[in-house]
Amino acid sequence: MDLRYSAAEQAYRDEVRSTLRSLLPADWAGYGALGTEERARFDPWWRERLLESGMFAAGWPAEYGGGGLSIIEQSIVAEELAEAGAPQYPTPNDTFGLQLLGPTLMHYGSPEQRDYFLPRTLSGEIRWAQGYSEPEAGSDLFNVRTVAHRSGDTWIVNGQKVWQTAGTTANWIFTVVRTDPEVKGAKGLSFLLIPIDQRGVTVRGIRNMAGETELAEVFFDDAVARADHVVGGVGQGATVAMALLGFERGAGGLALAVSSRIELERLAKLIVESGRADDTSVTRRLARCRADAHAIRCLALRTLAAVSSKAVPGAESSVTKWFVSRYRQRVTELALDVLGPDAVALVGPDTVAARGPQPKGVDPTSRTAWIQAALHARPITVYGGSLQIQRNTIGERLLGLPREQRPTTAAR
């Protein structure tokens, strides 16, 4: 066991810190301190700065325009950005293109797919949404009804996806579709890239409970996709789709620990402002959250170390998700309890729609910010494998308990 950073990695951290200092405006107080209009101006500008400095697409190889950084260096970049309160993925579709689809194309894509999509994703010309979920395919991920049938050089797609984050700003969608209608479940699926700006695709925004149109549903009526835009081969959709989810892991955990700590410092200020600095019924709950944030850091170190030694993070990532998702709810529930009777009305500046902690700079006394954070924390135990699905995974894959019935994914 050795969690030390190498001298080179330490030096790299210092370098990132000073780069960020030189890039950010002199009076920078964190993204959370910007107003709505300032944010709209900042986002594209900052995206360019990150691109120039090699910190955007940090893990992509240089030949694809990325930073070519190791996983540990990527983690350092993410941590330092969180520490500075500057966004890592400034525009809404960046995470899907950079974190998820990019690595998937590098691993499973054809040379033509890489050459076409990677530079355009990097430049922002192509903006991705993730098209996995459907009305009948939620936790039962592969119960996919959207079908694609081959017609000459194209796929003709019919069906519906739902819950696409940033779907209203996307112009491409990566999907899991059924290319073999004879087979149910995980077989007969393909991973297909579909342009959204075409007649056969309709995107309708979905307003979330915080009032933001953050999600979308996407309808396909004889939508057209190119035959050679299947990634990883026809019939390999489930494999590619699962692999994509794995690319999410590793580099972001320590950054989350940093932003969780920053959030707790902000919550401590709110407690002081509320005159409850000596109320142990509140301060001890905050202390528990502090210990939780430390546990998030330890769990993140485990994952980072595993990924950096090329181990494939397995079912242990379910433990991290189990812990982190419930923590988001615990800490924001505490904030509402601190607000007490003031939690019933939204007062104070609006905030960034983020499902993680709000970035540095948010006014600690903004009731709106804490209330929105509490609302944003609810779906964290639902999406990306609900809490119950994580428990099934832990019970079955880590403890070896009898498996659940899987009528639709029993294809094995």
Binding site: A277, D278, T280, A287, H294, C298, L304, N392, L399
Partner: protein, 370 residues
């Protein structure tokens, strides 16, 4: 960067698991006979064959010069078996405070390393207040009392940090010369004693003890206890999982019922995250040079660790009892030993609120901030 144990650490952990499995039957017999930790044969094997007491003793005292992490791994294995041996007290608390006493050679460390004597620190939980020492007739006498001293009624040597006219001193007292009464412990596998010192003869280890070093030794002891707690959680989870796989009701193994599976999944996640937190802490206090980003001060680290580990292991043990059904309530079944160890460990070295108040103070809040 590597979180997994390296080969030597993994070997040590495996050796320790084998050892505590080997002696399990004899240890349990002693526990059930009301003589926890008082089976000299087991301690002799533990000391001479396995060399566990020497792990964290520096080489200059003929110790193994290992790390706190090494000892933590052995204590995990001890916890997994709810061992009644005074290993945490001797190799952990006593060695930690003796090392805090400064570099001067002291026979007690050498005797512990050789496995000749068992020891405990009467103050692993509290500050030295209320214990005093004075020089008399060319020797030292200590006065004061402490309840719930870990193995206080059975070890050979008591370590006492006491106020002197000049400051803070560290002393050893022969248990035989103190007045010690055995308590009836909640955890039948861990004996406790009430120690009364009344001008009791003592040997000086250090006379100018640094208060901060003492507090640091307490932090290390807490981190080592956390490692043992992780083992307790793992042990009781193993019992419950085995039961869930074999016990059938309604025609199938109960582990197939999702309500049971999710209880166990939560317990697994609690034990797993507690292990990650406890090992991080043991590694961090074993790593002197600050090539580590954001390394916490040991006292803060101990508070963070205890605040996480204690409730997690208590929850896991309670979940295991639920899965075991009626049999988990039976004296015959080992589950209660785990549950009681979890309950008592969470409280043994100071109340949870103390850790929480320290953490809140770090954020500028609460009663401990001034």
């Amino acid at each position: 960067m590597r979180f997994e144990l390296d080969a030597d650490q993994a070997d040590l952990a495996a050796l320790a698991r084998r050892f505590f499995t080997d002696v399990l039957a004899d240890d349990r017999a002693a526990i059930l006979a009301g003589r926890p930790g008082q089976e000299p044969k087991i301690w002799a094997r533990l000391a001479t064959e396995a060399g566990f007491p020497a792990i964290a003793v520096p080489a200059e005292h003929d110790g193994a010069d290992g790390t706190w992490l090494d000892l933590a791994l052995v204590l995990e294995a001890a916890g997994q078996a709810v061992s009644s041996q005074p290993l945490l007290a001797t190799a952990g608390a006593a060695v930690a405070v003796l090392r805090a006493g400064g570099p001067g050679a002291h026979p007690a460390l050498t005797e512990i390393a050789a496995g000749e004597r068992t020891a405990t620190w009467v103050d692993a939980a509290r500050p030295a207040d209320g214990l005093t020492a004075s020089a008399r007739d060319g020797g030292w006498r200590v006065t004061g009392q402490r309840a719930h001293v870990l193995h206080g009624d059975s070890v050979d040597l008591l370590l006492v940090a006491a106020r002197t006219a000049d400051g803070l001193g560290l002393f050893t007292v022969e248990r035989g010369s103190a007045s010690v009464t055995s308590e009836t412990p909640l955890d039948p596998a861990r004996s406790l004693g009430t120690v009364v010192l009344d001008g009791t003869p003592a040997t000086s280890v250090a006379t100018d003890l640094d208060e901060a070093a003492l507090v640091r030794a307490q932090a290390i002891t807490r981190i080592l206890l956390a490692a043992e707690q992780v083992g307790v959680g793992q042990g009781v989870l193993d019992l419950a999982v085995e039961h869930a796989l074999t016990r059938q009701q309604f025609g199938r193994p109960i582990g197939g019922f999702q309500a049971v599976k999710h209880l166990l999944a939560d317990a697994y996640a609690d034990v797993d995250s507690a292990r990650v937190v406890a090992r991080y802490a043991a590694w961090a206090v074993s790593t002197p040079a600050a090539a580590v980003d954001r390394l916490e001060d040991p006292v803060e680290l101990a508070a963070l660790t205890c605040a996480h580990v204690s409730p997690a292991i208590e929850r896991a043990a309670a979940a295991a009892l639920q899965v075991l059904g009626g049999v988990g309530y039976a004296w015959e079944h080992p589950a209660h030993l785990y549950y009681k160890r979890a309950l008592s460990s969470a409280r043994l070295l100071g109340p949870a609120d103390e850790h929480l108040d320290r953490l809140a103070a770090g954020l500028g809040l609460g009663p401990a901030r001034r």
